[in-house]
Each structure stands twice: as C-alpha cells, then as structure tokens.
Amino acid sequence: MVTFKLNQAEVRVDAPATSPLLFVLANDLGVNGVKYGCGRSQCGSCTVLIDGEPVRSCQTPVSAAAGRSVTTLEGLLEGGKPSKLQQAFIDEQAAQCGYCAAGMIMQAQALLDRNPAPSESDVRTSLNGNLCRCGAHNRIVRAVLRAAKEA
C-alpha cells in the first residue's frame, strides 16, 4: 500500500512498490493526463510533477511518490476550468494528435513555476527532452510564451 497526494487529494493504492508511477496513475487511479511513450525516460509524454519537479513517471517507481505530492495535467485545472497554460495550448491549437501534450504542459508548468517570464530560447531548451512527432513544436512554444505573458 502506497500513500501520496494526487492533485492535492490524499490517495492510497494497493500496488507493488516497484510498479511504475505511470501505470499506477493511469490504471489504478484513472488519471488521463499521463501517457506511455517509451518507458525509457526518452520522450517525456509521461511527465508529472513530484513536489513541483518534473519527473518521468514511466521509470519512477510508485514507492518514490510515497508521502509526496504528485501533480498531473488534471491537477492544473482551476475550478474545473483550464488553467492559463492549458487555455493557451487550446488558444494556440498547440497539437495535432495531442498525445504528447500532457507531458509538454507539465514540463512547461515546471518551467513557468521556476521562471515566470521565460525567453523563447528558455522554453525550447526546457522542452527539448519532450518529443513531438506531429510537428506542433512552434505552436507549443507560442502557447507557453502566451501563458507567461498572460499570467
């Protein structure tokens, strides 16, 4: 049994301690905002925040989350509405398939938490480890910059 905070709410899961946090979130806790991409921390589509730091949940055992605070895409919602960052992704239509979007947004959130007024180059560098195959990169960069500007 592992206990941690998921999007501010206390959760207890009956899963093996070594189970990847990704699968516990997606399959035990019904979280949509994490995606399996590679299982090797190479693509970023499973990115969540643990105590505010971006981590790749595919290679993080659930035991590493014990007693800590995990934030997923769902946790960014403000009163059920998209956050500024999420809304900026919608406004910029920053996706084609959108499979990478959850990880992109979490990575970008971590950047904005640390640096509320990033340059374009800061955004690109911060997201460089998150892969997108549809070629929505420039839209994604615009969305992050827009959110920073509107904050």
């Binding site: 699968f23 991409g37 895409l73 999420q86 992704f89 398939c97 070629g135 960069v141």
Partner: protein, 743 residues
C-alpha cells in the same frame, strides 16, 4: 461545442446498443458500399457509394443532429472540418452536432483514412447529404406551416416563415431521411457559409489539454486485463521451444497464450504483462536465420534485386528534334523511415456473446475487422471495430496489429476486456516502415540547358501492405500454428500511384519517361508512410531540377518556371519565393537557400517550400534558420487546420531528411528506441511561415502529405547552395555532410 469525446455508452455497452439506437443494421453500410451505382446519378465523394441520407445524418429527439462518417480523426482535424461543413449546410449551430466516426457497425464505409483523401471524398459527401437533409426538413416544414418552401428560413435547426416556426426536432418523425440522395440539391452559396473558411478551433483539443477522455488508453472497462506480445528476435525466426511454466506461476499472470510462434500474455497489471513478455522472450528458443542486407547494403540491394514488376509509369518519347548536346545523370537514395508515433499502438478487445468488439485507432476499421475475422475464423459480421483516437498516425503503423493482437488474446479469454499497448522497442522494431528507395534521373539538354529528354527510374519495395481484409497482412497472423501467408503486395496504379507516386514531374518536358522497378521482396517490413513514394521521388526530381538549373547557370526558381505550365503550380512556387524574399536574399558564408515544389500525387494540394540553412563546415552540422511554405488546397474549410498540417509535415520531413534512418544488421532492426532513432527536437526547429492560397468554390484538395516531398528537396538544395556540394543520399547527418565536404 460538438460532442466528439469518448462515447462510453456506445463503446463499452456491448452489441445491444446498436439495435436500440440505430435503424441501419450492422453490415448494411458495407452492402451499400459494394452496390454499383448503376444508372443512378454520380453523387459527390463517398456519397456515391453510400447513398442513403440517413447513413450520414440523423436528427435526434434530444435536439441534436448526429453526423456519421467513415473517416477517422488522426489528429489531422478532419472531424472538425466536416462538422463545419455539416453545420453550415444544415443551418445548425456546431454545438448542436454530435459525431460518430469509424464504428464498423454504424457508419458509412469510407474505406481507409489515408492518402489525403478525407477532404476530397468525405467533405463533399457530408456537404451534399447535409444539404439534402436540410431540403427534406424545409419541405416538411412548408407542409406543416402552410408556407411556400422558398419563403422559409432556418436558424439553429428552427425553420421559420409566415410568423410561425417549427424545429427539425419537431419535424423529424420516423423515416424522413431514409431515402437516397438525389444530387439535385445545390449546396450553400459561398456568401452564406458561416463556419466553412473560418479557423474554427479543433473539437478534440480541449480534452487533450485538460485530461479529458479521448484516447483509447482512457477507456477503462470493468474487469480490464492487460496484454502484451512476444515477438521473435528476427522477422523469420521460428519458435523452437518455450518453457512458460515459471512465467505462468508469476503473480498477476492470468494466461500465457501460445499459437505456433505467436506468444502473448495476459496479466492483471500492465507492468506485469510487460515483465512477463520479457521473461517469456528470454525463456523461448528460436531458430534464427541471417537474411538482411544491413543499413549500408540497402542501396545496392535495391539496385540488384529482381523486381516483381517493371512498370512504365509514364512513356512519352520525344517526337523528333535535335539530339541533346549534353546529358546529366544522378542517383538519389532515401533510407527506411519509421512512423515513430510518440505513443505506441494500443487496442482493447473483448469477446462477448460471440462478438469480438475492438476499440482501435486503425485507419482502416472496416478492412481490419474483416482481416481479424479471417484470422480468428469468425463471421465478418461478428467482428466490430470502433475507432477511438490514438497517438499520431502518419500512415500504416501498428494500430491494426495491436487490434489483431488484442483480439488474439481476447479470443483466448472470453468475457474479459483485454488492453494492449506495445512497448517502445516492440513498435520501433516491428512497425511497417516507409520503404527505402533509389531514384535515378537522367536529362538530355539543349545548348541553353533546357530539358529535352527526362528519364526517371525508381527502385522500391512496397508501400502498401495494409490489412485490406486479409489476415496475412496482420503481423501476428503470420506466426500462428496455421500461419496466414502474406499476400503479394501490389503497387497501386493511377491516379494515386504508390512507389511511383509523384514519380511523374509536373514540369512539361518534350521527352518524359518514368520506369518503376517494383520489388516485392522486403528486407524490412514496409507499408504506407506519409507520402509513400512521393517523398523520395520529389526529393529526386526537385534536387535534379536544381542541378540542371546550376548547370544552366539559371536561378532555380526561374528555371522551374520555364517548364511549369500549370498556373496554380506557378502561383505556389512564386508565392513561396516571394514570402521567403528569394529575390532580395544575399549570399553569406556558410548560408544557403533552397526551394522545392510538388502538387501532391499530381491531383491533390500544391505546396512549395523555401528555406535557409547554415552549414557548419567544420562539423557538418546543418541548422535550418527559417522556412516558408505556400499551400493551395483548393477551397479552404479550416485555414488553421491547413496551416497545422503543412507546418507539421514540414517539421516531420526536416526530421526525416536531417536525421532519420532505420538501422539494421544482417538479422534484425537495431533502431529500438529514441536514442537509436533520433528525431528532431525543439532546439532544432526553425520559424515556419505558411502562406495560404485560397480558391473558394473549387474542390477540396488533400493537404496532409503535401509538404513532405518539397521540404526534403528544399533542404538538400539549400545545403548545396551553402556548400557547393550535392548530397544525394539521405539523411544529411553531420557525419555524412562532413565526409562529403572533405571528400
């Protein structure tokens, strides 16, 4: 907003839901598709095959309209675009519209969602069906209100006239739309369009940004179990022996499924299924043979392989005139490319009450369901595929294989929903790649450097091994105890072509011959990948035309325009050059500019790409500084959708051209993850400007694959401009460029 989120009731409720809610029985849509149109009038797009208005449009009692389409959402925005068309023609708000797409029991069979065909075939069908549905509603309203039909107006589904009004929902009793379209109703005039032409936001994007339910991974039926498959070490390896007893005793493992050389496992948890599959692979003994030519041997292999067919794609010998004063020749090569979707393929299958229901992100739900039925020995009507979105789709990836594998596992454990999502290695090593190709070009020139004779020769393995209703095209079916043989692939002919797609240059030359060596042997598994042969052919044509321009001492844009008679093509080339600032551009050390053009398939969208590079001659590294694309997709339904497709295709093509090559040795593919198959990342992506050329009132032209070919050629041309060295073998990695510069 139009509802296109996961419809859990439909997807998870089982077969009964069909009969309750819809009047078209499963299979009926198929029958209609097969019926010849005979003497009947030709109807627009796919409406010609599925002619009942009710097959496309339903007026619901809950004050909504349902649009049913066979084309599916791949992230390309098709469902948003057809919703715009439908809402306009029916005079309803988009918020009043629901969509069902890609459910084999419910929707018109529109074949495969591929080839940039969705807007050309589905768009006009939806437009006509919607216009005819509106006419039927108007006529019903006219009778009810006692007013002449011409005097009535419609807003948000409410028909008004003579001081009274009645809504579609009051009118739609019984079988109003249960009739064939006539083709006699005229769609809206351009001036009356409200949504078409506007950058309406994509319907599926909010859910994707907020953790809504939209992907197949987000369906979690009760009692869900997790599956994984074990692939052989190599394509042709046979399972010699397997002791699965230890794995079967592992906690969480529910069942090991073995059928010939196919091995699968079902477990209570996803990570348990993945670990068990790894353990089974380690426990299995295989007979392996060495059969592959290896990455560096592939070009020679293509040139020396015996083609199954030699196709005269175009034969136009020059009629008389002077002999050429000069002949130039070149050989171009593209390696295998992966689709390499960020998410691996996934599906859920459940065998219940004799019906196999599969939630899949396949592009070809109808043909895939038939192929799976054959593989399982089931009646075709007992296999139902329902399209649910998955990760990005750029052609025939492993979506169909995942559907088939989930079904194989579900068949072994009836009553239980089984979800499977491949591992990264499983997808990278086993997906059908875009075929490696060699393209040879030869031009005979006059004294001014003009082309007299143009010859292009293509060497390629297949580009189409989609399920097509045949079990042998499903990967695992080939490894079963009673294996299904893979059908011999064919090279699709005119007007779309396959290996020879865009093999015929749109330029007009006096002599023009294209020969296609179609090789059905496949060292690596290959199938449709965004653009098929067009990427290599356009790369070769547009590189070679640049070489000829250089030889003639003529500007590459001006040289192209010498031979281009198609006005829209000229506009696209000119537009890209103009927005790029071609004429004002000044050469600087290490910098180069390049242009590339194609009209996709010579029947779809026009696209020209101009870009600027900086080449570091010390390390061979290419930096793309900026790119411009022009796009003429005919009448634009959603300008932001077109921009997104052109820009995305451009980025993907830059990635192919700069970095990508599937690596393999003499037994197996060695590109097994993102480290061994790198793709372009944020820091490497240039600013991109897309200049749209709208042609209101003209046919919708497909866009999704238009920028792939022009981009690759523009890049190679820019590198030549920067360095004076012509690179004809892709990808243009720093190692290759450095070697070329010091050679």
């Amino acid at each position: 907003m139009t509802d296109i989120l996961l419809d859990r009731r439909r997807l998870l409720a089982g077969a009964g839901y069909v009969a309750l809610s819809f009047s078209i029985p499963a299979g009926d849509a198929l029958a209609q598709a097969a019926a010849p149109a005979g003497e009947k009038p030709r109807l627009p797009g796919d409406l010609n095959a599925v002619r009942m208005i009710s097959a496309w449009i339903r007026i619901n009692a809950d004050k909504t309209v349902t649009l049913l389409v066979g084309k599916v959402e791949l992230g390309q925005g098709i469902l948003t675009a057809v919703s715009q068309i439908c809402a306009d023609e029916l005079d309803i708000d988009m918020a009043q519209l629901k969509i069902i797409s890609g459910d084999t029991a419910l929707v018109p069979n529109e074949g495969v969602t591929a080839g940039s065909f969705s807007m050309p075939n589905c768009g006009p069908a939806v437009r006509q069906a919607s216009a005819e549905a509106r006419k039927i509603m108007i006529d019903l309203a006219a009778a009810k209100l006692g007013q002449p039909a011409e005097s009535l107006t419609v807003k948000a589904g409410v028909v008004s006239g003579g001081g009274a009004s009645v809504s579609y929902w009051d009118l739609a009793v019984g079988q109003a739309l249960e009739r064939e379209a006539t083709g006699t109703v005229k769609p809206k005039a351009l001036a009356d369009l409200r949504y078409v032409g506007q950058p309406v936001q994509r319907l599926d994007i909010p859910a994707k940004m907020t953790g809504g339910e939209i992907f197949v991974q987000e369906l979690r039926p009760k009692g869900l179990l997790y599956g994984q498959v074990v692939r052989p070490p190599t394509y042709k390896a046979k399972l010699a022996s397997l002791d699965s007893s230890a794995v079967e005793k592992t906690p969480g493992v529910v069942k090991v499924v073995r059928n010939g050389s196919f091995i699968g496992v079902i477990a209570e948890r996803e990570e348990q299924a993945n670990a068990a599959a790894q353990a089974l692979f380690a426990a299995a003994k295989w007979d392996v043979e060495k059969a592959l030519p290896g990455t560096d041997g592939m070009q020679d292999w293509l040139l020396n392989a015996k083609p199954n067919k030699v196709i005269e794609t175009k034969k136009q010998p020059r009629a008389g005139g002077d002999p050429a004063v000069k002949t130039l020749e070149a050989t171009y090569y593209r390696p295998y490319h992966m689709h390499a979707s960020i998410g691996t393929s996934s599906a859920i299958a459940t065998l219940a009450d004799g019906v196999m229901t599969i939630q899949t992100h396949s592009q070809s739900v109808f043909e895939t369901s038939q192929a799976i039925a054959k593989m399982l020995g089931m009646e075709p009507s007992k296999v139902r595929c329902q399209h649910v979105q998955g990760s990005g789709c750029y052609g025939h990836n492993m979506a169909d294989d995942a559907a088939a594998d989930a079904a194989l596992l579900a068949a072994a454990l009836p009553g239980k929903p089984i979800r499977l999502q491949y591992t990264r290695e499983g997808e990278h090593r086993w997906e059908p790649y875009g075929s490696a190709m060699v393209v040879k070009t030869k031009a005979g020139l006059d004294k001014d450097g003009n082309v007299l004779d143009w010859d292009l020769t293509i060497f390629s393995t297949p580009h189409g091994t989609r399920p097509g209703g045949e079990a042998g095209n499903l990967l695992s079916a080939r490894y079963l105890e009673k294996p299904f043989a893979m059908p011999t692939p064919v090279n699709g002919g005119a007007p779309n072509f396959a290996a020879d797609r865009n093999g015929v240059a749109l330029y007009e030359f006096p002599g023009h011959n294209v020969l296609t060596n179609f090789i059905t042997d496949m060292p690596l598994r290959a199938s449709s990948t965004r653009g098929l042969g067009a990427y290599a052919n356009v790369f070769a044509i547009e590189s070679f035309i640049d070489e000829l321009a250089t030889a003639a001492g003529v500007d590459p844009v001006a040289y192209r325009l010498r031979f281009m008679k198609d006005e829209r093509a000229r506009d696209a080339i000119t537009k890209a050059a103009e927005v790029f600032g071609w004429d004002k551009w000044r050469k600087r050390e290490g910098r180069g500019r390049g242009i590339g053009f194609a009209k996709y398939k010579n029947i779809a969208g026009y696209c020209a790409v101009a870009l600027e590079v900086d080449v570091n001659k010390r390390n061979g590294r290419i930096r793309v500084l900026r790119a411009v694309a022009s796009a003429d997709s005919g009448h634009i339904v959603n300008p932001d959708g077109v921009r997104n497709q052109i820009e995305g295709g451009l980025v993907q093509s830059l990635s192919w051209t700069l970095k990508e090559e599937v690596k393999f040795d003499d037994t197996r593919v060695t590109s097994e993850d993102w480290a061994s198959y790198p793709i372009l990342t944020f820091n490497e992506i240039p600013p991109i400007e897309v200049a749209l050329i709208n042609r209101p009132g003209t046919p919708f032209l497909g866009t999704g694959e238009a920028s792939q070919g022009p981009t690759g050629a523009a890049l190679a041309n820019a590198v030549f401009d920067a360095t004076g060295v012509r690179f004809r073998r892709l990808p243009l990695t720093p190692e290759r460029v450095k070697a070329g510069l010091t050679a």
